[in-house]
């Protein structure tokens, strides 16, 4: 129902609105166009047959040709009121147009609407969430990647393989041990050389400041050597006790200081 008009529910109605002039029940002389399975028929009702409900509506098949069908309507509804004739033709036009549209659409792909059931949708959503939590995707992916690493699918790109690393370490340890021994010997030689050098300087220079400078330089050199020595041992200990390494380092530092303190006394004594 619109604001101004009602719709007529009678299937034989010509316009579809409920008016006095377009009600098939109210008018004893009436005509409609209806279509069945794509063919259009003209239905007519006359006063003479008002007593026979079964034979009330007379049916005429209209031709498929649009213009011819219009002529046929005119023929059949000659001497009928203008209103009915006009409305019949209008209705016929509309019907043919929508039939054409139907035929066109069926040729194209049609969208099939599949209704979603709300309950099922909710159930699916819930199950998905639970599955996601159960899946623990990140862990699974990480595990899989580590597996592949173990099985060597990556070849030599990553430098982690344990055995090779250990071997390399051991090699390095062996090298560093021999190195450190050689270094120690060298260091002793150097120290004695330095000491001689320093003592000579001391004797040459009388100034106390200069002596200090020379001492500090000698200190530094010795510190460096000490550090190098300690580094070698540090690398040796790396594989076994990484924690004790830095701790060990601190002790020699302190030792160095002690040595320095005693040195000047010896030097002065020598001097």
């Amino acid at each position: 129902r619109t604001k101004t008009q009602n719709f007529c529910r009678n299937e034989y109605n010509l316009t579809g609105l409920c008016n006095r002039s377009s009600c098939p029940l109210a008018n004893s002389q009436y005509a409609t166009i209806r279509e069945e399975k794509g063919r259009c028929y003209l239905y007519m009702k006359t006063i003479e047959r008002a007593a026979f409900p079964r034979r009330l509506w007379e049916r005429v098949l209209l031709s498929k040709n649009y213009e011819k069908a219009l002529e046929e309507i005119d023929e059949n509804l000659i001497y009928w009121p203008r209103f009915i004739r006009h409305k019949c033709k209008q209705r016929f036009t509309k019907i043919t147009q929508y039939l054409i549209r139907i035929r066109k659409l069926t040729l194209k792909r049609q969208r099939k609407l599949v209704p979603l059931r709300r309950k099922i949708e909710r159930r699916e959503k819930r199950r998905e969430e639970k599955a996601l939590i159960a899946a623990q995707l990140d862990n699974a992916i990480e595990k899989e990647l580590l597996e592949r690493l173990k099985q060597d699918t990556y070849g030599d790109i990553y430098n982690f393989p344990i055995h090779a690393f250990d071997k390399a370490l051991q090699q390095q340890d062996a090298e560093s041990e021999s190195e450190s021994d050689a270094e120690k010997e060298e260091e002793d030689d150097e120290d004695t050389d330095n000491r001689e050098f320093v003592e000579a300087d001391d004797s040459d220079l009388s100034d106390f400041e200069d002596m200090d400078k020379l001492e500090t330089s000698s200190e530094e050199e010795q510190e460096k050597e000490e550090e190098v020595e300690k580094k070698a041992s540090h690398s040796k200990s790396k594989g076994k006790t990484p924690l004790k390494g830095p701790a060990r380092r601190k002790r020699p530092y302190i030792e160095i200081e002690y040595e320095e303190e005693t040195e000047p006394t010896t030097k002065t004594k020598a001097a």
Binding site: E128, A134, I141, E142, E144, L145, L146, Y158
Partner: protein, 273 residues
Amino acid sequence: EKLAAKKKRRKEREALGDKAPPKAIPKTIENQRVYDETTVDPNDEEVAFDEATDEFAPYFNRQTVPKILITTSDRPRGRTVRFCEQLSSVIPNSHVYYRRGLALKRIIPQCIARDFTDLIVINEDRKIPNGLVLSHLPDGPTAHFRMSSVRLRKEIKQKGKEPTEHVPEVILNNFTTRLGHSVGRMFASLFPHDPQFIGRQVATFHNQRDYIFFRFHRYIFKSEKKVGIQELGPRFTLKLRSLQKGTFDSKFGEYEWIHKRREMDTNRRKFHL
């Protein structure tokens, strides 16, 4: 009442100390899963023979290089378009084409003529992608999925750059049954066979309780036993609706498997993939 029982049990365990019985394994749905008779045994010969002769054999023998066509349903909305683009950046050797009302039945012969191996159609509903049709082209099986929880790249909390052009690795998890096996192979056939490990990218299809989760990560090995992954690339979940033998044909296709809601959804412990 349950809490009381639990407490009691815990006290008993503590009281017994070392002699306590071992902890009970909690029941999960995976543990309780109804045994599916089509579960594939790794040593199953029949299955191995099947796989050597089915439609994916040329791919697994490295005779064909995958070339993929991604398209949508009519009139894709912005989200779907962006999703298509991201998907094409994830899958190497893939092209996105718009569909201006072209019938699928007619696209397929054209695709075969142009040497495409796979076709992906992303179906859209109310501005979000919700369906995926994946068909292996030279007369291969067609799988129809329902897609849910799609996250585009910018919605994922990541700081990674976009996926590079390197060929990613593929991880397929948990595809146990015969059906799952074929679906898994379908996914594998999307990606070229030789992943470039320099790229350090991995695409994962993880099946859990009939839901397939897709993720795309970049990994880095921090040390021997530790790997870090960073999520880049879109993510979505798929649920298999139907699997057809030939290429996409809704009326005359021969369905290998359809999800029948009444029968299949009733049991909570029974899964098909």
